[in-house]
Symmetry: D2
Subunit: 362 residues, 4 copies
């Protein structure tokens, strides 16, 4: 099922930006698991536009309704279905866009694939809005992981040209930085950097792009601590493989690297190899260029990865594009409500995606 | 099945570096397809060590035996099973390695996961040797794609510090460079760069590493031309997602990016957006920052991606590591036969992996 | 995903008898397919209790709400999600049943499996009510099949001791009997037998059981005409295998046979073998003991199968059972609203299940 | 993958009757499991033709070669691949059969499906011979189940018109009959009936059919004891559904029923309902009409099912059939080596199939 993730903890997402509702069917929630709508809502709150930073004016109240799978606040073992109604959808904003393609959006590819029957309003099923149901599943998975001592923490590493220190600098010790206090601080921040001093510059970068009717990309990092050794299934359900498959399915993601990623290609083996040692009976490595994964399975070090997020393609600046009905070139300046930078809102989505995959593999 | 790829063109790989044989079971080869063992062998020849460049002395004759699924040179429609016997396996080289872990190899993670029962000789199922059966499946898929006008071409973009021009420089016009002559030249080269003038420097880089008992990484690029619009299935079988899942399961791959990948994170939308236009009735884009994929599905432009390959972890230089039987720190200098750089031999593997995925999705 | 059917036409069902809603997420509906809520409702109407025959007093209005995947009456290509609200659920009827197990129901097995957290009200996800979402998916599949000239027709072959003539008697000519007029007659009948003269006796059988506070089982037959040769995938996605998997997942089904089924075990090969001949260029068989399937794939003859439906386990007669909270034996007489025979209402469900499977395989 | 079974214990079968080899790739064998080739061979011995009973003259030595996944007699955790070479294949026997279809065989359906490229020799992949690799996987699964106290026992319930007492007669007490002594007796018998006094009549039935150049069918029963409560995954991976899917993929199986199966359709609920009671703290039922499965999941009682096996379609008696090359009717008398009754040899195959499914679900 191409709309779903997982084998044991299964997540099947549905909906379109302007359909009656979006939602998710989750299988594999252990019977008896406490399902706290408040916690799920708090998690979803993190992916909502934040007044100070984001420009999108669409109010996504994202009121969750649980349709099945929960009785008296606990999972019944049956599929947990939940929906979010699509209110406040100004479809009229999109009238024109049935034939005029938004550059770097799914519009053209989707129109060809679905013979023009795709729901073009707001990008249909390709909308970033479909990450909200994923966050419902992710929120539950994060709780289940946390009970096993596993923490999944994503944060910003770059916004446009503003690059903050990465786990690559912190090396194998990044887990020491990610104290519970730091994680809470990151969760509450509209622009969560490991080093909060980068927030101001990032905010300026976003504001500058917005003022110019433009947008800007960013890089998100994610660190998973507490994962036991041995998660991931060779050959083709490798931990990197399964994670990347879901990560690349999040709108705007164009690159994924684990550990030192593309930098490792320039290293010699004597540098890239993570030297091993015993510490209090546990096997550890001095460096963590492999990002906690060797042979496609977790090795006990923090799992670290980075995700490149492209600038939002919806910009106010006029662009060259095509009108596929008229079969001719045209121009387009996109009005309506759009974020100038999606990366901050994608941070919890990365956590949710990673949590769904990790819980599924365990 | 974690050892398999695909839904319609299914590839199930088995074997270990020192087991009796390695092999593959391929489902979904259309009945009647010509299966030419010579062509498959020629393809596998490309991933064999080449005297000038590679150091591994293990002679992999890789004689393919087809066990089923072919009658009178044509696919019968039943699963096509093929094996390669593991001859010339000097298991004695590996005696020590049951308890002394090779840093940055799968050894430790696998030993924990499988309770010490994993075949530790030569990395067992984690060995790069398991890419040979994948290449059998890939060779057949490449032929099937070629009949539909689709070409998959991988080549080297970097070896260690030697960076050759990338498709990122060539932009949307990379397809024009990849003429049939150029592709044939790349296929025949032991160090295939788009610009052959980088071969010498790359060779020197590898030789220098080898002389130092060390190894070096590299970057491989891949360009797919002729792919129709609409390949990839939202939400979670996105073209990027499904490709990356398999790519990350190839040993030593630590990063995957599509189009401009991590660079796009620094761009503004007005730059990153690929401006659209009509050319002879077809919709094209001026740039190709999205690597031919928008909304997770192909958009008609060349599909372009890059893969970071880490340096071979087996090096002659002595390294810190652990002895898990003795539960103490130790040192290890790895003898035996090893490549100083695996990236050149991974080039056809990338093509094979991409071909299996693409044919499966079509 | 254990709550779903299919690879290409995927059907993921959720909900519980007394949850807020039940529903379905359908993938693989071709973009542009007309989705007519009226037709779906008409189909669902067939599985509703019918005053003359059924005793269940629960009014299932089964108002369908389509949440996504349809725009302007046509499928968009995105997952089609639809729900039915659970109104009129008298949960108080079920208070006792958390610890007193209903014999031959899922209660005990489910309670152990889910640690007592399962939704015990009305059987939770095991309720026959969950066949309603399957019927939504089936209704769409039936339409898609019909456009290709494929008809799926189920009817009653037996109610309790009343056995009507079977396709086994009609042999290879059953398709000639199933004219469009006959099919429409069957669709409109509360007790659809091929030979309508059996209706009265069947009705009496049901009434007698009900008067006694008891229930009775039945046999349903299904005939598929127009299916092309070659549907079914060896070895393990055989047409019989894939159909039976879904059929056995319909509550109360305890037996499935194709063609002559269990009778064929008594035959000699010379009788059981369906003699082949050409008729107007098409290959046909004189008999159809194989039920249109040989080697697990369709052979062009009508696909015929029979399904045994057990008597509804909810009966008013007092039964021996256990109280798992008190850990002691007890007695139970089940009040509330229950059918005395579920077989008639299962007829459209069998059609729906078969249609989903067949369309998926094509 | 249509050639495979299972999600956790995966079984991927390949080969054709006259290909170089047949084989299996098994995933999910726990690392460290003892793999005893002698035990596997002993199991396969049970499905070999037995001189007294069977007529097939083809000597299937079925020498197993393990290609991967085993080191020093224990599973490594990597896929376990094993093959059996096809020796003694008299392909010349089959020359004619490329265009003359054997009635009730897969020949015609396969020829259409695969455009005539299918391996028609000996039925190709549709041959009963492909059950040998399934038996390899089944033998390992049976051992793994036995370690958990689960026994899977199949035996003959009928050969042609000879019907022996069924578990239906023995009711919930069938487990008491199946002592280890009885099971061993069944394993060693060429015609294993619960009541050995039926062996003679069955043998006569088979001999009579053979003398007439004909064949005869049979019924196999299977009883699973020791299965814990809760095996099976609603809604669509029900225990009945998943078992039946594999059972129907065994050549010649045309019917599957659980517990009282088709007989239950005639019962009233007050009879069919299995009355529950406590015995030494365990919940049991007085009868077992549901065959140990309620709501699609195991309920702690013995799992019982029956399988109808059709007579071998290859008979010496001349039959009407078609020549698809000449496009005309013709006659066919099948020479060569064929069993007059396949049911006895299918007994261990049923055990193997059930074991693979049950171990996978646990």
């Amino acid at each position: 099922m191409s709309s779903s993730i997982g084998k044991n903890y299964t997540v099947d997402v549905f909906g379109e930006s302007h359909s009656a509702a979006i939602g998710v069917v989750i299988g594999g929630v252990p019977a008896g698991t406490e399902i706290d709508r408040g916690r799920i809502n708090a998690f979803l709150e993190r992916r909502r536009p934040s007044a100070g930073v984001h420009s999108t004016a669409r109010r996504e109240t994202d009121e969750i309704e649980i349709l099945s799978g929960v009785l008296d606040g606990r999972a019944t073992g049956a599929p947990l279905a939940a929906i979010i109604r699509n209110a406040d959808t100004r479809s009229s904003d999109y009238g024109l866009l049935k034939s005029v393609m938004r550059p770097s959006h799914s519009d053209y590819a989707a129109s060809v694939k679905y013979g023009g029957y795709n729901d073009y309003r707001g990008g249909g099923q390709f909308s970033g809005r479909l990450t909200a149901p994923l966050c419902i599943a992710g929120s539950i998975a994060l709780d289940l992981l946390q009970k096993r001592g596993i923490e999944v923490t994503a944060y910003l590493a770059a916004i446009g040209s503003v690059h903050a220190p990465s786990y690559k600098e912190y090396g194998a010790k990044v887990a020491d930085i990610l104290t519970e206090t730091k994680r809470e601080e990151l969760r509450l921040s509209a622009l969560p950097f490991l080093d909060a001093s980068y927030t101001k510059a990032a905010e300026d970068e976003i504001k500058a792009a917005r003022s110019a009717g433009d947008s800007v990309g960013g890089i998100i990092e994610c660190v998973v601590t507490g994962l036991p050794v041995g998660v991931g299934e060779p050959l083709y359900d490798s931990l990197e493989g399964v994670l990347s498959k879901v990560l690349f399915s999040i709108p705007a993601v164009k690159g994924v690297e684990f550990g030192s990623g593309f930098n490792i290609a320039e290293m010699r083996g004597s540098v890239a190899n993570d030297r091993m040692y015993f510490e209090s009976g546990a096997v550890k490595t001095r460096t963590n260029h492999n990002g906690g994964i060797t042979g496609g399975i977790s090795n006990g070090m923090p799992v670290t990865f980075r995700v490149a997020v492209k600038p939002v393609p919806s910009i106010a600046i006029e662009q060259d594009t095509v009108d596929i009905a008229a079969k001719k070139d045209t121009k387009l300046a996109i009005g309506g409500r759009h974020d100038a930078c999606i990366a901050p809102r994608a941070v919890p989505v990365i956590e949710a995606a990673a949590a769904c995959v990790l819980y599924d593999l365990m």
